[in-house]
């Protein structure tokens, strides 16, 4: 688990990308990790063709949830909203590049769950349980 805290993870934790809110968001969602109380919000701006043009995330949490969410925002810009709704846990696992222990899997998946919830328009399942 200590291997997880690599430089690029700590960089995303301390300098999160696309952090904040979107005033003119097309869709938004906010959910918490009941395990630790961490909350993440995702605001997405989608154009008429259904392409994600801008994403902002906000919230407070551990390095795993924050870095995963930060990297995820970079992954989905330019992606059709329909594809966002169908993303699997693999996108997160590929982004972080390091094995995540089962006890921290929910932390890593929180951002993706919120993103998919925004895309689907109703509460998405935990990506690691799909």
């Amino acid at each position: 688990m200590e291997d997880f805290y690599r430089d690029y993870i700590l960089d995303h934790y301390r300098n999160p990308r696309n952090f904040g809110h979107l005033e003119n968001a097309t869709v938004s969602a906010e959910e918490l990790n009941p395990l630790c109380g961490d909350v993440i919000r995702m605001d997405l701006q989608v154009d008429d063709a259904g392409i994600v043009r801008e994403v902002r995330f906000s919230g407070k949490g551990c390095a795993i949830s924050q870095a995963s969410a930060s990297m995820l925002t970079e992954s989905v810009i330019g992606m059709p909203l329909e594809a966002v709704a169908k993303l699997s846990k693999d996108v997160v696992l590929e982004n972080v590049g390091i094995g995540i222990s089962p006890t921290r899997m929910k932390c890593a998946m929180l951002g993706l769950r919120v993103l998919k919830t925004a895309a689907i328009g109703s509460l998405a399942a935990w990506p690691d349980e799909e």
Binding site: M1, E2, F4, Y5, L10, R14, L35, C36, G37, D38, K60, G61, C62, A63, I64, Q66, S101, T103, R104, C107
Partner: protein, 414 residues
């Protein structure tokens, strides 16, 4: 003197088989989460095994030998736990845990006695289990909740207590806070609550494991506690209630074993404590609870308290030395006023990340909101890490905690 005590703590460790096993990473287990649940000594594990191997039978019914033996052991355990907190066996109700014990009071006594506009007084640092049952009682009855405030150290502010107690029907308060470990000055609070005519309920989940508890001296009406935080198995707890209250209040759950006579239309109830124990009880775990309090009494609550103060003082010293790396300890920070619990954070590292890195060194701590979300919000803490100490912890455990924290600081470049 210190060497004698340290040797004793080592002897105590030898009674707990879990410490003989390394963690999955091959490290010795450094268990600093006894406020969540304690480890179990061999004698408690044996008691479960013996019951199931030798005399497993239902109680209060069977006329055969092993049923009689089970009933006798079950009621003997009740008497031992009752003696442990200085009440009569007839005043001790078995429950699943502290939460169920508090719910029993909130439903059975609360529904019968609380009216619209009545005041239920709590404190700002209660565990969810001593908050949510009262919120629901207030919703059912139209009662209102009030809270004794805390200062920036998490210490109760008692200046306005008499005003808060004015018109108060119930005061329910933790004996020892689970997040900051604060020992509440019940000797100063309960007499004033009595004078105001309030029913006094004490959440003793963190009290009975760590402090000598005498419910008669405390003069509370109810005292709720869990077995699993004091060396007993999970799934068994207890509620002390004053005999007169237990006689006058209606039952909580109903069904078998809590009745005297049953007709198709009407039922008369058994006497306390059985009136509050519907259905087959948790026989094996209750018997083991009796063995657990024997173990604690054998070691001595006075010794346990002094041992925890010593470990806490040492941990405070060692953790304070990490302040330049960003370590902050919350709460009263005075071993005299805390029950073996320290909450802390390390720089900008989230408590869950701290706990994950400590885990790689075999160190078990709790991280998060500790089931006290309103307290965390009031204090402006997102999450904290919590180390809690018990009779089997040693100064070496603290040393391992500190070196694991130094590792976390290194990984996060603090």
């Amino acid at each position: 003197m210190i060497h004698v005590r340290e040797r004793t703590a080592q002897e105590i460790r030898a009674d707990f088989p879990i410490f003989a096993r390394p963690t999955g990473r091959g490290k010795p287990l450094v268990y600093l989460d006894s406020a969540a649940t304690s480890q179990k000594p061999q004698s408690v594990i044996d008691a479960l095994d013996t019951y199931y191997r030798e005399y497993n039978a239902n109680i209060h019914r069977g006329v055969y030998e092993i049923a009689a033996r089970a009933t006798e052991a079950f009621e003997a355990a009740r008497a031992r736990v009752a003696r442990f907190i200085n009440c009569a066996p007839g005043e001790l109700i078995w429950t699943r845990n502290t939460t169920e014990a508090i719910n029993l009071v909130a439903y059975a006594w609360g529904n019968a006695n609380v009216r619209a506009g009545d005041v239920i007084l709590l404190t700002e640092l209660e565990h969810h289990s001593n908050l949510v049952p009262w919120q629901l009682l207030a919703q059912r009855t139209g009662a209102v909740l009030r809270f004794i405030p805390i200062d920036e150290r998490g210490v109760l502010v008692l200046d306005g207590l008499d005003r808060l107690l004015d018109g108060c029907t119930i005061l329910s308060i933790a004996h020892v806070g689970n997040t900051l470990g604060t020992i509440q000055p019940l000797d100063r609070i309960i007499p004033r609550a009595r004078a105001a005519g309030a029913l006094v309920v004490v959440d003793g989940a963190q009290g009975t494991p760590h402090l000598p508890v005498d419910v008669a001296a405390l003069d509370c009406d109810f005292y709720a506690f869990s077995g699993h935080k004091m060396l007993a198995p999970t799934g068994v707890g207890a509620l002390y209630g004053k005999r007169s209250l237990l006689e006058s209040m209606p039952p909580f759950l109903s069904g078998g074993d809590m009745i005297r006579t049953v007709g198709y239309e009407r039922t008369t109830f058994n006497e306390p404590p059985w009136k509050f124990e519907a259905g087959t009880s948790n026989i094996a775990d209750a018997i083991a609870f009796g063995v657990a309090v024997d173990y604690l009494a054998d070691v001595g609550l006075g010794w346990i308290r002094e041992h925890e103060k010593r470990i806490t003082r040492y941990a405070l010293e060692r953790l304070t030395a990490l302040a330049p790396r960003g370590l902050v300890v919350y709460g009263p920070r005075d071993p005299e006023h805390i029950g073996g619990v320290l909450s802390f954070n390390l720089g900008d590292v989230h408590a869950h990340d701290v706990a994950s890195i400590l885990d790689t060194e075999g160190v078990c701590v709790r991280a998060g909101h500790h089931c006290t979300m309103p307290l965390m919000e009031k204090m402006g803490w997102h999450a904290t890490a919590r180390a809690s100490f018990y009779l089997y912890n040693t100064e070496e455990d603290v040393d391992t905690l500190v070196s694991a924290l130094e590792k976390a600081a290194r990984i996060f470049k603090l």
